[in-house]
Structures are given as C-alpha cells and as structure tokens.
C-alpha cells in the first residue's frame, strides 16, 4: 500500500474516497493510503464556510494529498451557472490545498431545482456549443482547468449526433479541460447501451486523462446501476488494465459510497489498484502478468 511516493499535495498511486464514516479513522490514526478524494459539497457547510466535516478534513488533510470531486456543478443544465457555489468551491480548494477539482459531464437540475442526480445529456453539436462557454467560465472563475468525469447512464437520446467519447474528446480539445475517466462508468454504460467499452477507451486522447475512478456496480438483471456499494468487479478490473496500458499509471481512486466496508476493506481495493499500476512499465513487478493478460506491455 502507498508505494507511490506522493509529493506534498500531488496525488499519485491509488487513493480512496474520504467519507464521514472514516473521518475518525483518518483523524486519529494515519491509515496508509496514497491520497484522498473528497465530495466537495460535503465540506461546504451552510454557506461555504464549512462545518464540523471541514474541521475534521483540515486535520486529516495535513497528512494526505487531497483532490476535490463535486456533484452539483450542473455543467450541462440550461440554468445559469451558480457563481456563489463556484466561489464556495474555490474557497474550499484554497483552504484544503486540493490538487485539482472535478465534476461530471451531466446536468443535475433545471428551473432552479436540484435533483441531486447525474442526468445524461444528448451528444449533439448544440450541447457542445452550450457546454464550451460554461467550461471556460468555470475555469476562469476557478483559475485552473476543470477535470470532467464521464457518468454512468441508463438512457440515450435519439437525436444524439456522436458517441459519448467523441463528445468528451471534443470538449477537451475546445476548452482544454481534462478528464476523470471513470472506468466503472464506462463499463456500466457499455452494458446498458450495448457498446464496446474498449472503443470508448480508444476514443479518448491519451494525454487528457488526469484521474481514474474505480467502483462497484449492482446488477439489476436488465441493466447495471452505478451504486458504489460493492468491491470493483472483475470485468472492471480487466477494463482498468486496458486503461493503464493506454493512459499509464494515472492516479486512481476507489469510490465507495454506500454499504461502506470497514476502512481496511476499502484500503485493500486501493492496494489492488496500486499493484496493477506498479506493473506498468516494469515487466518484473507483481502485477505484470495481470497486465499481460489484456495486452502487450508498453515498451
């Protein structure tokens, strides 16, 4: 665990999502993990000045690099961007010295209401034209690049004009934003919409990925749901190996939000990811044979 030496503030290797259940573990001990990701909104408090959760985070943060992951930017919504919220994010980033901030390619509400869900967008030229200036605005306010995550989805739109990966790639090209490639989301959407997940990976430009997510889905028989309440399933580990071969040992985060295991269970998942990452570029490493199963080792 934590074989990847992180410079202060610079995540590398595999991290875990910090959830309130683990605050005590991290505040009182110093569990060995390379870095932490927080859900930004959980630390904003009533007015962006934070509450108890932020106090604990500031203690924990002294010992780990941290990145911020938001769920309410609502980038794709036709509502105006919420500048107050953006400024709260900016303040949080400053007080926690988070290395980067991310959110999702989705909309979460409209008409001033927040559904608190990551809702899908049609992949059209119109949607691209709507999103690009909004991403520019976010990056202007935050003063740095946005890291944008692909979501799991359960429906598609008849009027989409391109694939999700073409849409994401175009956004990175036009705005300079980076990507958080959620490998579990790629797999879940691939099953739900019958596409080849490797085509998704191969459609993403190599230099654009800043971070990976791994998580466990639930199988509802007719479709998969991105529940974040299981260990990472074997097909997602397989796809992750392919992602490592294509993109390199990008910082990887184990997302677990529901039916949380004891912290050790979560750290074990991160350890598995680090074994695979270590194998990248090192044919003698422990995970090398696992990588070789899915493709040629990079030279």
């Amino acid at each position: 665990m934590a074989r990847f030496a992180s410079k202060p503030g610079q995540p590398s290797g595999a991290g875990v999502g910090l959830r309130s259940k683990y605050h005590r573990d991290f505040a009182t001990g110093k569990p060995k993990v390379s870095w932490l990701e927080i859900v930004s909104e959980n630390y904003l408090g009533l007015d962006g000045r934070g509450g108890r959760a932020l106090e604990l985070l500031l203690q924990i943060r002294e010992h780990y690099p941290v990145v911020m992951h938001g769920v309410s930017l609502s980038l794709g919504s036709v509502d105006p961007l919420n500048l107050d919220y953006l400024l709260q994010l900016k303040r949080l980033k400053s007080v926690t010295s988070a290395s980067w901030y991310s959110d999702h390619l989705c909309w979460t509400g409209v008409g001033g209401e927040n559904l608190h869900d990551l809702l899908p967008l049609p992949y059209t030229m119109d949607a691209l034209q709507h999103l690009c200036p909004r991403i520019h605005k976010v990056q202007e306010v935050m003063g740095e690049r946005l890291v944008l995550e692909n979501v799991s989805s359960y429906l598609t739109f008849a009027h989409s004009e391109m694939t999700e990966w073409e849409f994401l790639s175009t956004l990175t090209r036009r705005t300079g934003c980076e990507l958080l490639l959620d490998v579990n989301n790629v797999y879940v959407s691939a099953i739900n919409h019958s596409f080849d997940p490797r085509e998704f990976l191969n459609g993403i430009p190599q230099h654009t990925v800043r971070q990976f997510h791994l998580a466990g889905y639930s199988d509802n028989g007719t479709h998969l749901v991105d529940t974040h309440d299981h260990p990472v399933w074997p097909p997602v580990w397989s796809l992750y190996r392919e992602a490592l071969l294509r993109f390199g040992p990008i910082p990887t985060l184990i997302e677990w939000d529901d039916r949380l295991p004891p912290l050790d269970g979560l750290l074990e998942e991160a350890a598995k990811a680090e074994i695979l990452m270590e194998a990248y570029g090192n044919p003698n490493a422990r995970g090398a044979s696992a990588l070789a199963e899915v493709g040629h080792h990079p030279s």
């Binding site: 909104e41 509450g51 108890r52 509400g109 209401e113 869900d117 967008l121 709507h130 429906l155 739109f157």
Partner: protein, 275 residues
C-alpha cells in the same frame, strides 16, 4: 420527430423523473405534461422501454432524498412510527420531496426546512397530545444545523483571568453560533438518545434542552433546568449577568456556577466588554 431544444428536454425530463407515480403514468395523464413532449427523444432499447429507463432515474431520485432525510431525522422516524403506528412519517417525507424541491447545491442542507413543512402540513392531522413529535423533528434539525455551521474558537478562556467581578457583571457574552434552545412537553434529549426505550410524555410538564457544538467540535444535546434555560435565553438576547440575576430571580452564585460550566462546554465563546 422534431429535435427538442436542450431546455425543453431538461424541463420535460425533470417533470417525468420527479413524478411520484413514474414516467409512464405521468405521460398517460398528459394534461400536465410540459410541451413539447420529449418522450420520443428517449431511445426505446430492449430489454427496457423508454419509460422504464426514465424510471431508473425517478426511483433513484426519490430513494436518494428519502435516504438522506432518514439519515438526518432517524430518531423522528422511530418516534413517529412508535407513537402513531402508521406510515405518517414516510408520507411526510414523500410530500416534502415533491412539495419543497431542493434548490441547494448541497444535499446536506435539504432537510433544514423539513420540520417546518411537517408542522405546517401535518399539525391538523395529529392529535394535540402528540404535537411534541414536531419538537423532536426540530431537535434533529438543530443537530443538523450545528454540524453544518462554522464554529469559531473559544476566546473567552484567555480573557477571563484578566477580568474583575464588576467588569464581568456588566459584560455581555457571545454564545456558540450553533446554540439552539427548545422547550417541549417531551423530554427531548432523553427521547433523542433512546427513542424506543424512553417513556413517552404524559403531559403537564415542560422540558427544555440545548443543542450546540462543544469545544471538541462535537454536537451536544443536553436537558436544561427551566432556570438555566431562562438564563441562557437572557444571555442570548444580550442581557448582562447582573441583569439576568435580577430578572430571573436566580442567585449570583448559581449563575456563576452555570457560567463556569458554559465556558467549559463551549456554550459561551466570547465576552463583549461594556465601555
């Protein structure tokens, strides 16, 4: 099929997802459907039809907000169920989710208006002897508020040793910004701690309790005597200690003892000296 605008699509999907009876029923009862209808924009892709696909989002929407309310009001849920032996609490949650849509980026704050909603919408349906159930909701709202609020450091401890009795008597104090005081016909603090075991209120007595963040940052819920409650209320309204003693007919010695306690447990945070 005409391509909908992004705006029309989002308004229509929001309507379909948040319809309590699901997308198919919503569309069947089309008189309230936002126009243009965007149903045909969602792909029918076996094994699920378009409405089943929309309903995945609909079910997740209601479940997520319900789970959130249950995580913030767990003791209220237990006590409503215990006292009323009905699904009244579940109904209130469902009505709140539809009736008071979240407008905040932070789901953690969604529950703050729930107790007031329940009081406004269910008080006529509850027998009077059970009206304390709204107070337990209020108590859990205060716990949520305390968790979500920024709480400055205590400055009074360093200042106290420098002050004489006369200065203290005329001074006003700043309390913990998360402090809330509640009066109820139920012993709320005890019921909050043991909702299934504690005896239910029998009426006739008023109980008081305070909710605040202590110096370690933890949220405290504590029963207060009526005299302590009255003194704290006076402190909160900006009274000086000497005035409190007169207006509440409490001895200086008793007030001094509470005062020390409230400095130690973080209720009193700072002193505003009279000039």
């Amino acid at each position: 099929m005409e391509t909908p605008t992004l705006e029309a699509l989002q308004h229509w999907l929001k309507w379909a997802i948040t319809h309590p009876e699901g997308a198919k029923t919503a569309v069947a009862a089309a008189q309230f459907e936002p126009k243009p209808s965007c149903a045909s924009s969602v792909v029918n892709a076996p094994p699920l039809d378009r409405f089943e696909r929309i309903d995945i989002y609909g079910k997740a929407f209601f479940l997520r907000l319900r789970d959130y309310l249950l995580s913030v009001f767990p003791k209220s849920k237990q006590l409503f169920d215990r006292v009323l032996q009905s699904d009244a609490f579940d109904m209130l949650m469902a009505e709140y989710i539809v009736g008071v849509p979240s407008t905040t980026p932070n789901i953690d704050t969604f529950g703050l208006a729930f107790p007031a909603f329940c009081r406004d919408n269910a008080s006529t349906k509850l027998p009077n002897e059970h009206s304390w159930l709204f107070d337990i909701l209020e108590l859990e709202r205060c716990v949520l508020f305390a968790h979500l609020s920024a709480c400055g450091e205590s400055l009074i401890k360093t200042k106290l040793p420098l002050l004489d009795a006369e200065t203290l008597g005329s001074a006003r104090f700043t309390t913990d910004p998360t402090l809330n005081l509640i009066g109820s016909s139920a012993n709320l603090a005890d019921l909050w701690r043991s909702p299934m075991e504690e005896a239910l209120p029998s009426g006739g007595t008023t109980f008081y309790c305070g909710v605040w963040r202590d110096l370690s940052g933890e949220v405290r819920v504590q029963t207060l005597s009526i005299a302590a409650y009255t003194c704290l209320t006076a402190l909160l309204s900006g009274c000086a200690v000497a005035q409190i003693s007169i207006s509440t007919q409490t001895t200086q010695t008793q007030i001094a003892q509470w005062f020390r306690e409230w400095v130690e447990n973080g209720i009193i945070r700072d002193i505003l000296l009279a000039h």
